[in-house]
């Protein structure tokens, strides 16, 4: 089922969208972790990206049109948990290697077989560099998506 985002950052999209999602830091002794929740499974990807940007403390405002790059990705799906990890690790790779900070999701289609997304990205700037890659990778540790009180919830631990 497709989730239509918009050409805005995940932070701004959350404020004006029917798709309800949140994130917050979660305690973990060794690493960084976030707790995410969303009204629909696809919303978890928005929450996860918002959480990644949030714990890295990167500027996640919507870039100007001329600075915006759209980056399409297609990932084979092994279930929502694995897809979340793969999605986040693609985002980490983009920041570290391609000098692109994904700040929004324009389109996202999540199904049994695959995850397709078009990410809205802005260029990495010098101010980002001390923070980028503060996360080495998203891990599978303790990652279980559960439905609770009408919301899909999960915790994601990042290796730092």
């Amino acid at each position: 089922m497709p989730f239509a985002g918009s050409k805005t950052s995940v932070q701004e999209h959350a404020m004006g969208s029917d798709l309800s999602y949140t994130w917050q830091p979660s305690p973990h002794t060794a690493d960084l972790a976030i707790a995410i929740s969303a009204s629909e499974k696809g919303g978890l990807f928005y929450a996860a990206l918002a959480g990644l940007l949030g714990i890295l403390e990167l500027d996640a405002s919507t870039p100007a049109e001329q600075e915006m790059t759209e980056y399409g990705l297609t990932l084979k799906s092994y279930g929502i948990e694995s897809s979340l990890v793969d999605f986040l690790n693609e985002c980490v790779y983009l920041m570290e290697v391609e000098d692109l900070v994904p700040v929004g999701i324009h389109e996202l289609t999540y199904g049994d077989d695959s995850l397709r997304a078009v990410l809205l990205c802005r260029p990495v700037i010098d101010a980002d560099r001390p923070d980028i890659g503060h996360v080495k990778a998203a891990t599978y540790s303790d990652l279980n998506v559960e439905l609770s009180d009408g919301m899909y919830k999960a915790k994601i631990v990042f290796d730092t």
Binding site: H28, D31, E57, Y93, D131, T139
Partner: protein, 487 residues
């Protein structure tokens, strides 16, 4: 924690050792053993650390026990400080989660002919020069490029490739674990992404808890061993802590995807997805070890280039050659790795892949893998502390081979999460504290520095004390930081 307050099925064996009985958690094939004092075990009960020790005990083919060193803390998959070995004849597995994303994160220690006190007026210039010369921060890249055939050679030859590049001393190789290269590396198994990430990262420090420290040997506890290691009270030493950078992280991530399928294919039941694994005699298992070896070799090469840059900085500031300054490698240890080693299992010498996730190899005197110069002493075990306290050199003892698959702790271990550190600690206070201890700090990231504050870590002296009293490895020298470079 009083004995009566211990969690159920956790038994205190003595003042350095606890046992997780097999009833601690379901499906444990072996018990868990945690080397810890009473206060360290109390810390371990506050998060999921003990559950992670128990989870590893459920893995197929595990032999003897799921082990944890005194710096035990909650990780992902394996506990940090975890050690486990698996017998291929008992359907044993290999797990990337038992190594970690930073494959061959490790430590290299340099000695010198310099007295720290006599050199004190040069310390700030030295650290400034090193900070200028070495790219710091995760994701940061350097000027040295490895690609194509050059990268392939590096991934197979490790530290020796850097000798061939003229950036390392041939004599260093003997004092690097595994001679600076694991056999069996197959560079064709790395993805383009992994290679791309590593292209300009060999010779860079990274962030997080990676560091370069200028230290003073404050106290020698074992004169015979200190003499053999070339250490003396008052000496200026340099410690480097880093790993395989983005290449290693990507290799782990790529491998976990493969293992994800393997778990289903081979019918392996897991309590935690991060323990995804494959049988040792499977294609997936063999390929993981070959890819992991590439990343491990990259890390040794990385530390060799950093040593080269440190030596250059010393030469520039002090106006003497690094050879005359005696900047020699004492030793280099890996603390995130899985390696085939021979250990006694049920009374028989058996080749097993020992997984060390935040744990250091500790081979005693007489072991063939210990350098000739240290044969009578045993391998140096390098234990970095947090940036405000101390680091240690220990010597490995025979007890390590009997009890822990030749393993010891790797550091202080975290006591406070990174989020909590950022929330509760103040950057300016952290800097003031370091200044009050006379420690010069250069950091790539304010946020990173706060996360690495002394309060966020356990007491390294206590961790080392438990290791010493347990007999696994014993104290040789304690070093205190004079200057720290953090990513």
């Amino acid at each position: 924690m009083s004995k009566t307050q211990l969690p159920k099925h956790l038994t205190r064996i003595d003042d350095t050792l606890y046992r997780l009985e097999r009833d601690f958690q379901k499906n444990m094939r072996v018990p868990g053993y945690v080397y810890a004092s009473d206060s360290l075990i109390e810390l371990a009960t506050r998060d999921n650390a003990l559950s992670q020790v128990a989870n590893v005990a459920t893995l197929p083919g595990i032999v003897h026990a799921s082990l944890a060193m005194p710096d035990i803390h909650w990780g992902y998959g394996f506990v940090i400080g975890g050690v486990a070995a698996f017998d291929p004849k008992r359907k044993g597995i290999v797990s990337p989660g038992g190594v970690g994303y930073d494959i061959n994160c490790g430590v290299r220690l340099l000695r010198s002919n310099l007295d720290a006190q006599e050199t004190s007026d040069k310390i700030e210039k030295l650290v400034n020069q090193i900070f200028r010369d070495i790219p710091v921060g995760v994701g940061q890249e350097g000027d040295i490029v490895f690609e194509g055939k050059k990268m392939e050679r590096l991934l197979v030859k490790g530290a020796e490739a850097i000798v061939d590049e003229g950036m390392s001393w041939p004599d260093d190789i003997e004092f690097i674990e595994e001679g600076g290269a694991l056999d069996g590396a197959d560079s064709s198994l790395l993805t383009d992404k992994a290679v791309k990430r590593g292209r300009r990262q060999c010779g860079t420090l990274g962030g997080g808890n990676h560091f370069i420290e200028l230290q003073r040997v404050e106290q020698v506890f074992d004169q015979e061993a200190a003499n053999a290691f070339g250490l003396a009270e008052g000496m200026l030493t340099v410690m480097i802590h880093t790993g395989s950078r983005g290449l290693g992280h990507q290799t782990c991530d790529d491998s976990l995807r493969v293992m994800r399928d393997a778990v289903t294919k081979y019918g392996i039941d897991l309590p935690d997805r991060q323990l995804a694994c494959a049988p040792l005699d499977s294609r997936e298992g063999r390929q993981y070890l070959a890819a992991m070896a590439c990343a491990a070799n990259f890390a040794w090469a990385n530390r060799s280039i950093l040593v080269h840059l440190v030596r250059n900085a010393f030469e520039r500031i002090l106006g003497e050659s690094a050879e005359r300054l005696g900047l020699e490698v004492v030793y280099d240890v890996a603390h995130n790795i899985a390696k085939w080693e021979t250990h006694s299992v049920d009374g028989k010498d058996t080749r097993v892949p020992v997984h060390r996730k935040g744990a250091t190899r500790a081979f005693p005197a007489g072991h063939p893998d210990v350098p000739d110069k240290y044969q009578n002493i045993g391998q140096p075990v390098l234990i970095p502390g947090d940036m405000g306290s101390a680091s240690w050199v220990l010597r490995a003892r025979p007890k390590a081979m009997e009890a822990t698959f030749g393993s010891a702790c790797h550091g202080a271990g975290r006591a406070m999460g990174r989020n909590e550190a950022k929330r509760t600690l103040d950057y300016n206070k952290v800097i003031k504290y370091m200044e009050s201890r006379g420690i010069i700090v250069r950091a790539g990231s304010k946020k990173g520095l706060v996360e690495e504050a002394t309060e966020a870590y356990k007491d390294v002296d206590e961790v080392v004390d438990v290791t010493h009293r347990s007999g696994i490895s014993t104290k040789v020298a304690r070093m205190v930081p004079l200057a720290v470079i953090k990513g």
